[in-house]
Symmetry: C2
Subunit: 457 residues, 2 copies
């Protein structure tokens, strides 16, 4: 009898109807937004409180049942698959805003609150939550993945924006990490240890994040370049000049084609930057002028401005729909998404060599990136049932990652390790992986929390 078989009736006593073994629900919770094959859990529980999660996890500890937390299911590296069986705790119904501290510019939320839900809630406060991975991800999932996105170049990632966590540990104990003070030197930084741990050390049941003031002025633009180098050099010089740009996104010609088709735009099929400036009216005008001058020197002449809120929304919605636009290039395909991040001095070279590789392949593979951070994505369109395509995507991914590592970069800037990037962790971190394992074993000695993810065996 598996641990789950013992645990499930005990959990049902706590949550009643909110545990299900329906195959459709299990299938849905065993797969993310990518090509990774599904691994359905043995049951799915829709938890409603920290106390419930604590009691459920305690039962799982006693019965040696693996536990996987599930938010919006928008991850892309196989983060949620139940590789060793066990149960899934879906936290999407834990979606209350617990406390807004507008004066302190922070908010505490339950982990199932999504970023759009939060920003809708905040609308009248003059504040916003900037982290924006494209998908309408849950804040808990974003903390677990150490997510970032288009605004990170200015506002940081979840690493910089999570202030405090409530965590259910693998034995069911509940701890509170961090606090609402802006800084602290009091003890080990558990908050940042848990951020990015992808459910392998505990389950978040409350997350406190920083908020930022909605800028007085916002202005967006697109600018096409004759060459990839021209676009990327513009990014590099902008960052090096210390211009506090809020967004600076790169889309290659393949991505622009996908976007034109899907979102009914008519952009030139050229490497393009999408930019956004935040600040005072004068500050935004000054930043825009400086970046236009830099772009001009790199062959980017024509800025198309979107100053009305509606135009800006349409522009960024199109950017956020990139994954769906890509999939529409080949109906019926699955996405094999990957991302790397390199020191910005190597970005042009890394993008150029990767584009060369992709162009020589039979796969359709648009490139898009948060290039202000040195981070870019490739979405390879594959048919999950054709092993030779998966093989080719793996080969291209391996080459892209090893190239980034050789340049002093990382195997994933923001999408996380899940199972897809596990094989690169040793190449990137060397013996530090053993230290990660020491911590994992100390906190989760039975290896029950999202087992098989992040750390290579």
């Amino acid at each position: 009898m598996s641990g789950a078989a013992v645990a499930i009736p005990r959990i049902r006593e706590i949550v009643g109807e909110r545990i299900t073994q329906s195959m459709a629900v299990r299938q849905h919770h065993g797969v993310d937004t990518s090509w990774h094959p599904p691994h359905p859990p043995e049951a799915v529980i829709f938890a409603h409180s920290t106390e419930e999660v604590s009691r459920i996890v305690r039962i799982c500890d006693e019965t040696e049942t693996p536990v996987i937390a599930y938010g919006a299911g928008s991850s892309v590296e196989g983060h949620v698959g139940a590789l060793n069986g066990g149960i899934c705790i879906d936290i999407s119904e834990m979606n209350r805003i617990v406390a807004v501290h507008a004066e302190d510019m922070d908010v505490t939320v339950e982990p199932g609150v999504t970023r759009k839900q939060l920003n809708t809630y905040l609308r009248d406060t003059g504040l916003f939550f900037p982290i924006d991975p494209g998908a309408d991800a849950s804040i808990g999932g974003m903390a677990a993945t150490r997510a970032s996105g288009t605004n990170a170049v200015r506002y940081g990632t979840m690493r910089e924006n999570v202030l405090a966590l409530t965590v259910v540990l693998p034995n069911g104990d509940v701890i509170h990490t961090g606090g609402r003070a802006r800084k602290s030197s009091a003890g080990y930084d558990l908050t940042r240890l848990f951020v990015g741990s992808a459910g392998t050390l505990g389950i978040f049941t409350e997350v406190t994040v920083r908020l930022h003031g909605i800028p007085e002025a916002v202005s967006s633009a697109t600018c096409a370049f004759a060459t990839v180098e021209g676009a990327v050099d513009t990014v590099i010089q902008t960052i090096q000049s210390g211009i506090p740009i809020a967004r600076i996104e790169f889309l290659d010609d393949v991505q622009m084609d996908a976007l034109n088709r899907y979102s009914k735009f008519n952009y030139p099929l050229l490497p393009t930057l999408f930019l956004e400036f935040h600040g005072t009216k004068a500050g935004v005008a000054e930043q825009a002028e400086m970046v236009q001058a830099i772009a001009g020197e790199n062959g980017g002449e024509n800025f198309a401005w979107a100053t009305e809120a509606e135009e800006r929304t349409r522009l960024w919605q199109a950017r956020h729909d990139a994954l769906w636009a890509d999939l529409a290039l080949r109906p019926g395909s699955q996405a094999f998404p990957t991302d790397v991040c390199v020191p910005i001095s190597r970005l042009a070279e890394c993008i150029r060599e990767t584009r060369k590789d992709l162009s020589a392949s039979s796969l359709i593979a648009p490139m898009v990136g948060h290039v202000g951070d040195g981070n870019f994505h490739v979405v390879m369109l594959v048919d999950r049932d054709r092993p030779e395509e998966i093989e080719e995507a793996r080969r291209l991914n391996d080459r892209m990652v090893m190239r980034a590592l050789a340049m002093g970069g990382t195997c994933t800037g923001e999408t996380g390790v899940g199972i897809g990037k596990k094989k690169f962790i040793r190449a990137e971190h060397g013996a530090a992986v053993d230290t990660m394992w020491l911590i994992k074993r100390a906190i989760d000695p039975k290896n029950l929390m999202n087992p098989g993810k992040v750390l290579p065996e």
Copy 2:
């Protein structure tokens, strides 16, 4: 025979003359810049390389000898005392700049490089390292303490600015954490776990930190206020307005008196803000105008500007000399420094109540703070040999810390725990302290790395 007695001759084989048991050197290394009683180590080693530190630590592991790392000795909470005996590894001679990557705006240094040394070295690059705790601390020590200082309100603390570490673990193994990419979701964030661990998990032998562009324009000012509230409310409103102020420091009337006497200024004896603006010329002018308007509404009328580099240097040097100015108020005294950090909405109340407490005491106790972060310091002047004064300072410190914790703050914003703040860690972090201990025991099972610090028994 103590572990050290066995270890010392073996270490001498590695470092030759660079190990000493001279009482003067041991005394010097057993005490920091505060009232905490000295605890000299049994020997002091001046290490020169990662490999040497690794070999020394391995010997200490084998002989169960405690190991304490020592940088500039500028900490103030008893961080460096050899409570359980053992040896001290002084890393101040490991002071090479390893690699400047100007294009990527980062630098790798050995841990003994001080912040002033680094900024002198960087002078021609257009870049600077902003973290500035006042003292000319070592970068390794600053990383270990999670230091910050006057610029943190704009540029963050060591938490945000350390990108990567080389760490000698308690068994002598060497690991590399993090990397030079601006962001990563690849594995546990060991860098931020080690930052702030105060030598209790390992010894840093290389530190990679972010650099920032020297702003085109810099302008500093002071502004006196009739009341503490007026000054603090100006800070709060400035932060809440999203003005990217680079420095905003509060000094109370007692501190202004100390500063006038020590640095030969003639400021009014009133609560005063020291401010600095960084940006483009137009940006600085705009920021200054906005803050002047805010100050005006809070009773701060007269901005005294320091636009010349020389004037600015004199101004900030005086601010940095606060500790020495304080000590000069009572010749022969020792400093009992303490700091807390609270959510900014509680800052005025916290400062007001603390000032009331201090004014009712017989101790001289100036207040000064990095108030843009909600962080402030009190320096109580005590005679180490008068127990009733230590007792009174402890009482005031206890009240100040418990007040900050009750307001959702932290027992130390930046000076660290050492031994002085250990007793508050459980009150602040609750059961999370047990998780910290799990990590400590997993990484340092023999409890040899700076034992007795940070974590309460």
